[in-house]
């Protein structure tokens, strides 16, 4: 146990001390911040404003709260996964530098090593995501706070599950990588593509029908939707209280992926949690099986 603790500490410290790895992990969230601050924030605010029927006065704070919630949910949806991928690259980096070879010559068990990478990557990603979440919530409290305490707790749960998912997914993929070139390639692909396919850069509802159907098979989509619901629901409720017809509010919720429809069937919040939890369980099982097979292969 002590060995595992020291291994985890080593892995976390290496991630935060390796400036290249650390800053690469922040590229996608930074791109998102730039997109929102330059034009996306205005585009979304204008589209919400345009959807409000004439004659209904809406406090600008509610609109700001919605856009802020959208920014925070997008930010968390990408960072929980992309940071996990980058921090988990340590397992590949160790193969490149020879540290993995060195460690495997010690009596420490392969399972401890695998667990060490997983927990360390989870911790590093969770720390960064919690910092991002706190900063985002402070920002929202300044522009328009409509998030209940329960929703804050749910956001925390969403972040936890999404970090578990990102770490498990990256553990399975990174396990098969062994060169610096592969690290760069996978890092770049994940950083650039994940923001689009999870609906963080642009809502899934604005994509073509084929893409919409495709991404509904990806668990990350449901994580984004959960975050959208918990970051934006309070503000949408406030819209309804201000007299905007519920049909219009529903349309707005649909447009930002708070509501997801799997072949015309609305996916409930519980179903989203189930999909995400099952994905985590499946990926962790896959990671465990890969490691067991690798240990058996080595023994042969």
């Amino acid at each position: 146990m002590k060995t595992l603790r020291i291994l985890i500490y080593r892995n976390i410290k290496l991630f935060f001390k390796d400036k290249g790895m650390f800053f690469t992990s922040l590229i996608t969230p930074l791109i998102l911040l730039v997109l929102y601050s330059t034009f996306l924030g205005n585009v979304f605010e204008e589209s919400f404003r345009a959807a409000i029927p004439k004659g209904i006065a809406i406090d600008d704070k509610i609109l700001s709260g919605i856009v802020g919630g959208q920014l925070l949910s997008s930010l968390l949806a990408v960072s929980c996964v992309t940071v996990a991928f980058c921090s988990n690259m340590l397992m590949v980096q160790d193969k490149v530098t020879g540290a993995a070879k060195d460690i495997s010559m010690t009596p420490v068990k392969g399972s401890s090593l695998a667990l060490g990478y997983y927990i360390a990557s989870f911790c590093s990603t969770f720390i960064i995501s919690i910092i991002a979440m706190t900063a985002g919530l402070i920002y929202i409290s300044a522009i328009g706070w409509y998030i209940s305490f329960a929703d804050v707790m749910y956001i925390l749960l969403d972040v936890f599950l999404l970090v578990m998912f990102g770490t498990a997914l990256s553990s399975v993929i990174n396990y098969f990588l062994s060169t610096q070139g592969q690290i760069s390639a996978v890092g770049s692909i994940v950083s650039s593509v994940y923001g689009f396919i999870c609906g963080a850069y642009m809502p899934i509802s604005s994509s073509g029908e084929g893409v919409q159907k495709l991404v509904l098979f990806l668990p990350g989509t449901y994580a984004t939707s959960l975050l959208r619901n918990h970051c934006m629901s309070g503000a949408f409720d406030e819209f309804e209280k201000s007299g905007i017809p519920s049909e219009i509010v529903k349309g707005m919720r649909d447009s930002v992926d708070c509501n997801l429809y799997f072949f015309d069937e609305k996916v409930s919040i519980y179903a989203m949690y189930l999909v995400l939890s099952l994905s985590v369980a499946v990926l962790i099982s896959a990671y465990v099986i890969i490691n067991i097979l690798a240990i058996r292969k080595k023994k042969k």
Partner: protein, 304 residues
């Protein structure tokens, strides 16, 4: 009588058509300095990887400290410490953090670790480097930490895979002295691969490997006697006199060097021509000569 701490019997390993290790059998005695020589691609690293459980073998047996390395489930790993050709330390971490995390892998913590650290930092002279980041250390400093890392768990066998390549002579001497001190004090077995032939000359036993097979083996003296002749360096004489001997010679700065088959032949020659051999010295052939004679190749990277 010393025990065999490493026994390799009829080891085979191929990569496709290439036989990296071909029926290799060696025995390393406990506490000895064992030199394993060969050009790049001769099969040294493959043998070491199999020995350390990093690579599977095609056939043969490998025993480490009496334990079958294949069926031991890694139990013998605590008996081995390895210094790789390239440093495997975490460059972003401090020396202390590196050693602490490596010691933990062997179950060495806190006071026990502090004791080891004190001992090794004094032996390898790195007390003042503990808080420095490894990435900012010089090649020699890193090497000292690499060796300390390999010695943290008091291994019975220290495998040094070209440990001094690229180091300055002063650092090489420091490292070499530390290794020799450890070997003597702790009766540690040192398994060395090197390009520096003078390091191999210090070994108790030398195996020269070529194309995966043993090309020659023995103590440095045995190898010198078998594969190289003696040199007689004659001073204070003229070339005309040397020519009278009727054997090949080489003119050097202020003397002539004659190559003879062995010491007996040298004695015979000296007795026969006392007027020529007034001031002379007899030396054995060098390890490079042995390597060249056995393999027809020269080890690159080392000094003669």
């Amino acid at each position: 009588m010393m025990n065999d701490i490493i026994v390799i019997e009829n080891l085979h390993k191929s990569f496709g058509e290439i036989k990296a290790v071909n029926d290799l059998s060696i025995k390393v005695k406990e506490g000895e300095l064992f030199a394993f020589l060969g050009v790049n691609g001769a099969g040294k690293s493959t043998t070491i990887s199999i020995l350390c459980g990093q690579m599977t073998k095609d056939s043969g047996k490998v025993y480490v400290n009496g334990v079958d390395a294949e069926s031991a489930n890694g139990d013998y790993k605590s008996d081995i410490g390895v210094v790789f050709q390239n440093s495997v330390l975490d460059k972003s971490l401090s020396v202390l953090d590196n050693l602490k995390s490596r010691a933990a892998l062997y179950g060495i913590y806190e006071k026990e670790f502090d004791k080891k650290l004190k001992e090794l930092s004094s032996l390898l002279d790195f007390e003042d480097l503990l808080k420095r980041t490894v990435g900012k250390l010089s090649g020699g400093q890193k090497r000292r930490i690499d060796i300390a890392r390999a010695l943290l768990h008091d291994p019975k066998i220290l495998i040094l895979d070209e440990p001094t390549t690229g180091l300055d002579p002063q650092t090489r001497k420091l490292l070499w002295n530390a290794v020799q001190e450890l070997q003597k004090k702790r009766k540690m077995t040192v398994f060395l691969t090197t390009h520096y032939m003078e390091e191999a000359a210090e070994a108790d036993y030398v195996v020269i490997i070529d194309s995966g097979k043993i090309a020659a083996e023995g103590s440095p003296l045995e190898l010198k006697n078998t594969y190289t002749g003696d040199y007689i360096t004659v001073y204070g004489t003229g070339e005309e006199e040397i020519k009278l001997l009727g054997i090949p010679y080489e003119a050097i700065r202020d003397a002539y060097r004659i190559n003879v088959a062995n010491t007996a032949k040298a004695t015979e020659l000296i007795i026969k021509y006392p007027q020529i051999f007034r001031d002379y010295e007899i030396t054995k052939g060098k390890m490079d000569d042995i390597f060249l004679s056995v393999t027809g190749k020269k080890l690159t990277g080392g000094e003669i």
